[in-house]
Symmetry: C2
Subunit: 445 residues, 2 copies
């Protein structure tokens, strides 16, 4: 027994220390959560606004339940308006509108069909009614679940089919127990419409978040990130490792943006015209540009592996590689700016001409017998690879430029007449002569 | 008037032709839909089975509404069970379980909190009750909407927070109009549990679709596709353009698989042990392997641009490039097979040794003065780039092999003792001597 005492004491002590540390741990945890909350709100303040908007819409709709005359006409069904607000209110206008329209039309169609099924089943007699209804429910559930697998349906009407299935079941099954099924269907439709329109109105008129605008900015931002990376590559192959890290994170976010871009484009298609975007803005072209940007990013990532080897290359080659990469970066950033501000890029684009020049010079240097002094190919190899990959990148940049040019004519971007002068002023530092609109483009200094 | 007659006739005629063509167009449309339906069912027959399962679960649950005793105890609330089935039943067991658990626990927690809010509000008096309830609803809605933006919460508990918000509103707002709120909360919880457990039971016991198994197969399949592409690259640089197209489609599906893989991993974490997968199978390691595979695919895509240039290279180099590429493909396909069958890859891996050998030979050929005969670097450039990118690909393959090795020890893959003989037989055609488990690995022929 005496042997156990010290053990007991130590267990007791460690337990006591754990208990004592508990409030501290709790405080640390709370501090951590507070930090994370602040970060999420700081990253995108619209998140906080969205949360307040949901609270507002819900409070508005719950008034239906509170005010006597409204409650008298809807009764318990008024709860469907509250439920509709909770499940429909999404971050962007497009997502909310898409869900709202899906829910509204699906409720209408399924309600009508459910009523039809009920009257068909009740016409066959009281005893066979549940069997017929069961059969209808089964067939309808199988069909609407299967249709959700169609790719075109899945992208836009997935939620509608879910609600169709739900409403059909609710209406037709209710018919087994109540005779007020028509009233039920009407109430359900009306309350869903009230909830959905509250959401849509709050979503559009209180600090709206447009998916189309987000898509527009995201695609421009991705091009800019790619440009930053290429400029950074040129810039003495990244001054600090901190810079490099930021650029690499940017690059991988471009590579991983596919699903994000596609979701935003899906939502954007639901949105009415707003700001500079008309209804039926060519969102598909944004998808094309985003695809080309990701292809470019894939090449640039391969380029990045040869970062260190460039520093061992002869000075002349280094300068040429740096020049091409920097011109590519500059051209991309200019394209991103044109896209972001929705101005038509000048045609022919002076940045692209500069880039083509730089790439041509690099190629002719590689063609020259400058290389004969180097005995082993392994010395030359990494630099040659960088040059090749850089050529591919230049092709990617040109493709992106073409796609943006196409978008600018599809979406009627405004011309550059008014800010052409300013444009030339910006370019004057690195291009000696640019005859705007002409074919000739001078060598950069 | 006589001038207009021919016009009228032509309008009439074209209208008549359009009307006549309508049934034909309708038939063509129906044929098209039928074809698409067949394709979707053929691509994955589990989709049809899933639809039938949803129909079964819904019909089962609607019995609650039909049978008198059950209806007596639940009343109209029984409809919640039907609704739960419609919104919870997902394609895979993991997704269904995740949604079911989220809905169950959220309903429990929000129901309790809603009751608390109701009793707090009603204690303050009849006139202030709606204001207090409104305040609670607003604060709760803002908080639970905001919490959904936390990345960790979004991945796993997004649906739970939605249902928490919904149930809290339903219970606390109902309190304004009815005194049977405790009964309402109980009924809601019970019917949700009935619906959710029906879904989970049907989902697990009738032709289950395991997200974990799908993830496992997808990751292995992606490695195999990459291997196919590299073997095709070696194989006389693709015999037909048809083959090339198939391989390219495969490659881009690997590049775009990120969100799919992540969704499946999220679902897989909810699943209990099944078949060869235990509960808490190392799903994160699958994510790592998938990432490495995508990185490899990105390099191979860059490689693909130089496909045609290889045919202009000297015979000796062509053979070497083809050899390395084919060894890389072979190694990847062997790794995919090991992963798929959950067998521990032999260590050291003879395929990886072969691959390293091939890559070493290619490098020493490039180091030799074999190249001096070529005067211009532009001739050498594409081939040199291919060699460089191929080296990167080899590094990628080694990383994938390491990651699979790690997975095999984390998940206790079975050893190769029993099928070692068969293994050697397969390798005998291209490896002269392989001493299993030993360090020595012979040169391939």
């Amino acid at each position: 027994m005496t042997m156990e005492n010290p053990e007991k004491i130590s267990i007791f002590l460690s337990g006591w220390l754990w208990l004592k540390a508990l409030p501290l741990k709790g405080l640390a945890k709370i501090g951590e959560i507070a930090r994370q909350t602040k970060k999420i709100a700081d990253d995108d303040p619209r998140r906080l606004i969205h949360s307040l908007k949901v609270g507002l819409a819900l409070t508005l709709v719950s008034l239906f339940y509170y005010f006597q005359p409204l409650y008298n006409s809807f009764g318990v069904s008024a709860m469907w308006a509250v439920i509709t607000v909770v499940v429909i209110f999404e971050f962007s206008v497009g997502a909310t509108l898409g869900k709202g329209l899906n829910r509204g039309f699906a409720t209408l169609a399924a309600g009508a069909l459910g009523l039809g099924a009920h009257s068909l089943a009740s016409a066959t007699g009281k005893s066979s009614e549940p069997i017929i209804i069961g059969l209808f429910v089964f067939i309808q559930a199988v069909a609407s679940t299967f249709i959700r697998f169609f790719p075109g349906v899945k992208a836009r009407y997935d939620y509608g089919l879910l609600i169709f299935n739900l409403t059909f079941c609710v209406i037709s099954i209710s018919g087994l127990r109540t005779d007020e099924i028509l009233e039920l269907a009407q109430k359900r439709l009306l309350t869903v419409l009230i909830g959905a329109s509250t959401c849509v109105i709050v979503s559009i008129f209180v600090y709206p978040v447009w998916a189309g605008e987000d898509l527009h900015k995201l695609v421009a931002k991705n091009i800019e990130k790619l440009g930053d990376f290429l400029e950074g590559f040129a810039d003495e192959c990244f001054r600090t490792s901190e810079d490099e890290k930021t650029c690499l994170v940017g690059l991988s976010s471009v590579l991983d943006s596919k699903s994000n871009v596609e979701t935003l484009a899906n939502f954007a298609r639901w949105e009415p015209g707003h700001g500079q975007f008309m209804y039926r803005h060519p969102w598909n072209q944004y998808l094309r540009i985003a695809n080309l940007t990701r292809q470019g990013a894939c090449r640039v990532e391969a380029l990045h592996c040869y970062l260190n080897s460039v520093t061992q290359a002869p000075q002349e080659i280094q300068a040429m590689i740096s020049r091409t990469s920097s011109e590519a970066g500059k051209a991309l950033k200019e394209l991103a700016r044109a896209l972001e501000t929705m101005t038509r890029p000048s045609c022919p684009n002076p940045d692209i001409s500069n880039l083509k020049n730089a790439s041509r010079n690099l190629n002719s240097l590689l063609k020259s017998d400058f290389w004969q002094e180097h005995t082993s190919l392994l010395q030359v190899l990494p630099v040659a690879t960088v040059a090749s990959l850089l050529n591919d990148t230049v092709i990617s940049v040109e493709k992106i430029a073409d796609a943006i040019e196409e978008l600018s004519s599809l979406a009627n971007f405004k011309g550059k007449e008014n800010n052409g002068v300013e444009e030339n002023k910006n370019n004057v530092s690195h291009v000696s002569i640019v005859i705007d609109g002409g074919q000739s483009s001078a060598q950069a200094d």
